[in-house]
């Protein structure tokens, strides 16, 4: 009898260990987490617009239907990433997530304080390798350290009324997320501002 009691106590104690280990392991073994859900529908190191949430189709649960959203799934092993997001009329924000959906940084248009949110994303090692002087000259550059080499950047633009959704989507379509090349590339193919100007008289 006493032996059975002892067994039960041992089982429950061991169960506590199993519980702790499984809770800590769950983010690593989950197959339906946001990163896994978004991987098939997004390109690596590029901005992919997400469909606006509707009842038939929402890529991730609890998506805010008032927002146009886009995702940049990043991998920093090829070098730091440069992100530029033009600011929309109402509200724009950029949130950074690790591979396991820890929201380690988020910024909105007002705290960025400019017409365009410009950020450099790199790992801590890449940040340490930055030449000292470059960091000084680029003092106004916002540098974010990513705790993991892969992760997600979520870009959001608010459409305060349903009619403003196309405008919000156009803002995100003009944003850019790509691996930084060493040499400052010559200015080229900046994504054209979305609203086409009225046709001028033919030449």
């Amino acid at each position: 009898m006493i032996r059975l009691l002892f067994t039960i106590i041992a089982g429950v104690l061991l169960g506590g260990v199993v519980h702790l280990v499984s809770v800590l392991a769950l983010p690593r073994i989950a197959t339906q987490d946001a990163y896994s859900r978004l991987t098939p529908m997004t390109r690596l190191n590029a901005v992919t617009p997400l469909p606006v949430a509707d009842p038939g189709n929402s890529p991730i649960p609890f998506m805010d239907p008032a927002f146009a959203m886009a995702v940049c799934r990043y991998d920093l092993s090829g070098g730091p990433i440069k992100l530029t997001v033009p600011v929309s009329q109402a509200y724009t924000s950029v949130s950074f997530y690790t591979r396991n959906e820890v929201a380690y940084y988020a910024i909105n248009d007002r705290s960025a304080g400019r017409r365009v949110i410009e950020l450099d994303l790199m790992t801590e090692a890449q940040h340490n390798e930055l030449p000292e002087d470059e960091e000084v000259t680029a003092a106004d550059r916002l540098i974010i350290d990513s705790p993991t080499t892969t992760g997600l950047i979520l870009l959001k633009a608010l459409a305060p009324e349903p009619g403003l959704m196309p405008q919000a989507q156009a803002t995100l379509a003009a944003s850019n997320c790509k691996v930084q090349t060493d040499a400052p590339a010559p200015k080229q193919e900046e994504p054209a501002p979305p609203p086409p100007s009225p046709p001028r008289s033919k030449r």
Binding site: R3, L4, T7, I8, A10, G11, V12, L13, L14, G15, G16, V17, V18, H19, S22, V23, L24, L26, P27, A30, Q32, D33, A34, S36, A53, D54, P55, G56, S58, I60, P61, F62, M63, D64, P65, A66, A90, Y91, S93, S95, F96, Y97, N100, E101, V102, A103, Y105, A106, I107, N108, R110, P147, L152, L154, K156, L158, A159, P160, E161, P162
Partner: protein, 192 residues
């Protein structure tokens, strides 16, 4: 023989207790680090790198992306102020004011985080769409059939959840009480 039996029993018990409790905490969540104001609950730490392991497990299991602290905060409610579960067949009134924020959105989800289909294609309100009374307060009627004013359709589902998201707001990790964050009240006005 007896030793084998006892060992197997202990191991089975450990598995059931361990995985069972993990399932419960990763599905329902824990009270750890929650901010509760009226019927509304938020987890301000979920938007930071200091998120607790239970919330991380919950987020990984549900597949959502928590809202970052620099972006805003999300409050959710599954019951009214009297702890009665929100029922889509009843008339529910959300009224009052919201904490300071540049924008907010109120959205109706089913318990799994999907939007509910309706002919108006209205799934929530933003702070700019809402019709307010002269003192700045508002009243949203959540019901299956159309109502005057700010009507949010439920599609008649039995259980739903409301999510109030504040964007660019001082409400966050330091917020404790109703005085810092006056949340709207939720009352069930009547059931058919």
């Amino acid at each position: 023989m007896r030793l084998v039996f006892i060992t197997v029993l202990a191991l089975v018990l450990a598995t059931v207790v361990g995985l069972g409790s993990t399932y419960v905490t990763a599905t329902r969540g824990t009270e750890l680090g929650t901010l509760t104001i009226g019927a509304w609950t938020a987890r301000p730490k979920n938007g930071t790198a200091e998120v607790d392991p239970y919330s991380r497990a919950l987020i990984a299991r549900s597949g959502e992306l928590p809202i970052g602290t620099g972006d805003g905060i999300a409050f959710s409610a599954t019951t009214d102020d009297r702890k009665k579960p929100l029922d889509g067949r009843c008339d529910v009134v959300v009224s009052g004011v919201t904490p300071a924020a540049r924008f907010w959105t109120l959205t109706l989800f089913d318990r799994k985080g999907h939007l509910i289909a309706n002919s108006l294609q209205r799934y929530g309100f933003t702070s700019q769409e809402i019709i307010r009374s002269s003192d700045g307060s508002f009243e949203i009627r959540i019901a299956a059939r159309s109502r005057a004013g700010n009507w949010l359709p439920t599609g008649g589902i039995e259980r739903y959840a409301l999510m109030l998201r504040l964007y660019d707001t001082p409400v966050g990790v330091a917020t404790r009480t109703q005085r810092d964050a006056p949340m709207p009240s939720i009352t069930t006005a009547g059931c058919p």
